[in-house]
């Protein structure tokens, strides 16, 4: 009886969490199938890290045209340099600064930027649906949206540089997270109120784990806008802003 129940229970566990639970053990080691599955997932994650940003492939021609998204690059010149020099990934290259200055209106209510970060897979999986949702919510509020652009070899600190060039009230950076073994599709949204040089993570707010089994795109869009509204109201961002989750959200007290 209990034996018959097990596959059913295991199935429900797998639906509830992507964590690798109840896979058994051989002494202090994994079963061979688990051991090799972990190696295989690590190989996929390593390959996702090395992949290069390709706008038409990762965002799609339709989205690029609809939003007028153009490509810029940080001061890092290669993937290797990007990995070893976070300072370069936080600054746009000189030519990209000019490009942004020439193509984007300054002082927007909301400026969205897309960064490759450590996973182009995440950008490809989430941004094409997330970006239109954010725009729709912003438009219903009557906010002026800046022209979005993409940054190759991008770090979170690029927000300060963007604040310096464009002076938006709110800047949102959608950036690929470090790929894990369970998924390489996880995206983060970093928000900052009037970002400028000298700002650190203490002045930013983060919604992480945006992917199908984490925070869905739909939830993420709503949370980004809620946070942005709060920031505009209090004229500040960072640790002093505490996110209040919308009623009926699955995060509420059980």
């Amino acid at each position: 009886m209990a034996k018959d129940l097990m596959p059913e229970i295991l199935n429900r566990i797998r639906q509830r969490t992507p964590a690798r639970l109840f896979l058994g053990r051989s002494g202090g080691g994994y079963l061979t199938s688990t051991q090799l599955a972990l190696r295989s997932a690590h190989a996929a994650a390593r390959d996702a890290v090395r992949d290069e940003f390709d706008l038409p492939e990762h965002l799609g021609q339709t989205l690029l045209e609809k939003f007028g998204i153009f490509e810029t690059t940080s001061s890092a010149r290669s993937k290797d340099e990007y990995l070893l020099r976070p300072d370069l990934g936080r600054k746009l290259s000189d030519s990209s600064r000019e490009l942004v200055r020439a193509n984007c209106a300054s002082a927007a209510d909301l400026q969205i930027v897309i960064g490759d970060g450590l996973s182009t897979t995440a950008v490809k999986s989430q941004v094409p649906t997330l970006l239109p949702e954010i725009r729709e919510l912003a438009e219903t509020r009557g906010w002026r949206l800046g022209r979005p652009f993409a940054v190759r070899f991008c770090r979170v600190g690029i927000l300060n540089d963007i604040g310096d060039i464009l002076h938006p009230e709110i800047a949102v950076l959608l950036i690929g997270e470090r790929p894990g073994l369970a998924t390489a599709e996880s995206l983060s949204a970093y928000l900052a109120y009037r970002p400028r040089p000298g700002h650190t993570d203490a002045e930013r707010n983060l919604i992480s784990n945006i992917h199908q089994r984490g925070v869905t795109v739909h939830e993420a869009a709503a949370r980004i806008m809620n946070l942005a509204e709060k920031m505009r109201e209090k004229k500040i961002s960072g640790t002093q802003i505490r996110e209040q989750l919308p009623d009926g959200s699955r995060y509420s007290l059980k």
Binding site: L5, R16, L23, A48, E177, S186
Partner: protein, 456 residues
């Protein structure tokens, strides 16, 4: 000091190779320059280090306030090189080293670590046990504890509890059942804290629980009625780096006082001690926040321990491979840093554990964590992480697993914390001090409990 212009330069150049020191532009330019710095550092009197603060900020003030002149007396006239030999000597035992702890400032611990080999770091650390108490007792000789880290990408309570529950069958969870929330909000953190407390209460598990949110979020949850066993915060070695974490020394002090008061009010719990803080640290965090002030990452890490020890923590661990290759490039650097962190923390009196880990953009893999895990087990590390199959599905990095806990305890003849072990045996999860085989009855219980958690 010879060719080196000041202590900062000497300290930085005496380090083993770290990509973070190179990134900061302060590393030795050649292997010979590195060794020259080590030689000069070995001849440096400890008294000179004491007389020459490397930085003026509130962390430095805290370090000097907690310095014990009398405890320093036995080593006052020594150089860094002599301190190394003293730490390693057959005649220097745990009693001498424990008495010395309050007489060393973090910069001295950092200095001596720079001229010690990996084996030295293991040998000296293995002499010291730093024991702490909250709901159970951790850190005694022969004990290896595990923090269960049952994270979930959407903070799903059943998902979290299922992972914590499975860990019990591997003898994991005695250090703490500690969840990193995906969302740092009062509602989420409260929900997690309540759920963990109900879980520990229902099974009467003799352990601590924790939700590793920002200290402000945890205290707001406390205000709203959530129970807190251990108050968590990431800390770093400069005032500015701590500011980048959104935390100040005053917040740590006041937070600790509020938790102690909260524990006095929770009369349903049998507290066995007043170690109520949990700190995480890691080399490179100050540089990453652009607040390193020209100091090397090893010295800054030691200063973070200077912060931690002022608040009598229950648990302290560096998250040694988490920060990425720009600070610790590959397995060799991660292993070195892990051994340095553990040694310095133990020498300064902290209950050091370690999150032995790596990210997928570093030159490391699971064999790297196997290696460091075994070295730190030999060094007498207080605790490691227990993550299901080593894969943290929320933070997206690889740590160590429930399986690893079983392996380390077996290889090094170690046991879970005593109270926890008794509980495991009582539940039938352990038999003869080993995890029990999942035979019919145990398997039925496991599946029955899992089903109950799923149907909540």
């Amino acid at each position: 000091m010879g060719r080196f212009s000041d202590l900062r330069e000497l300290f930085a150049k005496a380090n083993e190779v770290k990509s973070g020191d190179q990134l900061a532009g302060i590393a030795a330019q050649s292997e010979q320059e590195r060794v020259a710095a080590k030689c000069a550092l070995a001849d440096l009197p400890l008294a000179t280090i004491h007389a020459t603060p490397l930085l003026e900020d509130d962390v430095t003030r805290l370090i000097y306030e907690s310095f014990d002149e009398q405890a320093f007396a036995p080593v006052r006239s020594m150089t860094v090189g002599e301190l190394r030999e003293y730490l390693l000597a057959d005649t220097t035992g745990e009693r001498e080293l424990k008495a010395l702890q309050p007489g060393l400032i973090p910069e001295m611990a950092a200095a001596v670590a720079k001229i010690m080999s990996n084996k030295d770091l293991v040998l000296a650390a293995a002499k010291i046990r730093n024991v702490t108490r909250c709901r159970n007792t951790l850190g005694e000789r022969g004990v290896l504890a595990i923090r269960t880290q049952p994270n979930h990408p959407a903070d799903d309570i059943a998902g979290i509890l299922l992972a914590a529950f499975e860990g019990l069958f591997y003898g994991c969870g005695d250090a703490v059942i500690g969840v990193n929330p995906a969302t740092d909000s009062v509602e989420t953190v409260s929900a997690i804290l309540h759920a963990l407390q109900r879980f520990v209460g229902a099974y009467e598990i003799p352990t601590q629980t924790c939700c590793l949110a920002h200290i402000g979020t945890q205290l707001a949850a406390l205000e709203a009625g959530a129970p807190i066993d251990l108050l968590f915060q990431s800390v770093a070695g400069t005032q500015d780096a701590n500011r980048s974490f959104g935390v100040s020394l005053a917040m740590l002090r006041e937070g600790r006082e509020r938790i102690l008061e909260h524990h006095r009010q929770r009369t349903d719990v049998q507290w066995v001690g007043e170690n109520v803080m949990y700190f995480e640290t890691g080399q490179g965090s100050a540089l990453s926040a652009e607040s390193h002030h020209g100091l090397d990452q090893l010295t800054l890490e030691a200063r973070a321990y200077g912060v931690a020890r002022a608040y009598s923590p229950m648990l302290v661990n560096s998250v040694v491979g988490f920060i990425g290759p720009e600070y610790l490039f590959d397995e060799r650097q991660i292993v070195r840093a892990g051994l340095e962190d553990h040694f310095m923390g133990k020498l300064l009196g902290l209950p050091m554990g370690c999150d032995v880990c790596y990210t997928n953009h570093a030159e490391a893999d699971q064999n790297s964590t196997d290696n460091l895990l075994m070295l730190l087990s030999a060094a007498g590390c207080n605790y490691f992480m227990g993550v299901p199959c080593s894969d943290d599905v929320m933070l997206n990095y690889q740590s160590t697993s429930y399986h690893d806990a079983v392996a380390m305890r077996r290889i090094f003849n170690l046991q879970p914390a005593p109270k926890f072990l008794t509980w495991l045996e009582g539940r039938g999860y352990y038999r003869d001090h080993q995890p029990a085989a999942l035979d019919g009855a145990l398997r039925r219980e496991l599946m029955g409990q899992a089903e109950e958690l799923l149907s909540r």
